[in-house]
Symmetry: C2
């Protein structure tokens, strides 16, 4: 395995494993419920290396996980939004992709950062600021796509906020109901509004 | 004080105090971060009475708090939605009221049940089912108001899901950003859509 070759690779692999494990656990159960022992077990990385990679402990690891999840989803959003010239089709495709992810995870995988944002925004300024920056990166993709479709700058900003908010909220309600209907409704309404 | 008069009142007051404390803490920090000691301290009720009133412990208390917060907000939603004949004005008033609550709590008091829903929906079927039932009670108020405004039944349902989802999502994004802009944007878009 690559891990055995040299120490630089070992460090990088353990670090990555911790970040991915934190991303999975934060998405499904949130910050407070995710203990360090569970993180280590889920990562498969040696426990002793956690504080080597993340001297700031759980909070520092959570920030890295939020940034990584945020950047992955930003890339996915950008790819879907630019996959078709049709704005309604692009927005519909985005909702469809998130709905498919929620359903295939048995209603576990909603937004990767909403849970930790709601739990920790009041206690951790760093978590709150990271959440704000991730949301802004997603908003920027939506806004750019809406501008390209010909909306004025103020309307593109406003509609991007509506689209992000409606999707975030629908992911919560769909998770509670174990039913994709909220996402389907939001899809139809957003496509209708932007067609 | 009423508490000293007879034991029926004492029991009822302690029970209420636990439920209100749980509602406050769940709204601000979520389920996992809220320990029983903090709940007891925040309630001001005697610790020994917690398991008397809630033999099921934290989960049973959380369900009672979700139901109470949900019912209070349902009443507030109904009052605002019926306060004016103008549908756009009614929806705008609803967003305004939630925005005012978020701002006056220094961006702490968002949706009273979203945090616990995201955290605990995967682990606790009872929390998930209670969240679904609270969301449905709010949806029913929105749907009834949209029907009264003349929308067809399928459109009223779809738009109620959009309105609830957009508001829930905007409360998250606004909390992360410490900025009411997401709520203002959603307000303008929803009022425009429903005018």
């Amino acid at each position: 395995m690559a891990e055995s070759r040299h120490s630089g690779t070992v460090r990088r692999s353990s670090r990555d494993a911790f970040i991915d494990a934190a991303g999975r656990l934060l998405r499904r159960q949130g910050y407070a419920a995710t203990g360090l022992n569970e993180l280590v077990a889920s990562s498969g990385a040696p426990k002793g290396s956690l504080y080597f990679h993340f001297p700031g402990g759980k909070e520092e690891l959570a920030l890295a996980a939020m940034e990584r999840s945020g950047e992955r989803l930003r890339g996915a959003i950008a790819a879907i939004l630019t996959s078709t010239e049709d704005l309604g089709g692009a927005l519909g495709g985005l909702v469809d992709a998130l709905a498919a992810g929620l359903q295939s995870s048995d209603y576990e995988d909603g937004c990767p950062i909403a849970t930790v944002t709601l739990e920790a925004a009041g206690d951790s300024p760093a978590v709150r600021a990271t959440a704000a920056s991730v949301f802004e990166s997603w908003l920027a993709e939506l806004e750019a796509r809406l501008l390209r479709a010909g909306l004025s700058a103020p309307l593109a900003r406003r509609r991007a906020l509506l689209v992000l908010s409606a999707i975030e909220g629908a992911l919560i309600v769909a998770r509670a109901k174990r039913d994709l209907a909220p996402l389907h409704a939001v899809r139809e309404e957003l496509v209708g509004l932007c067609a």
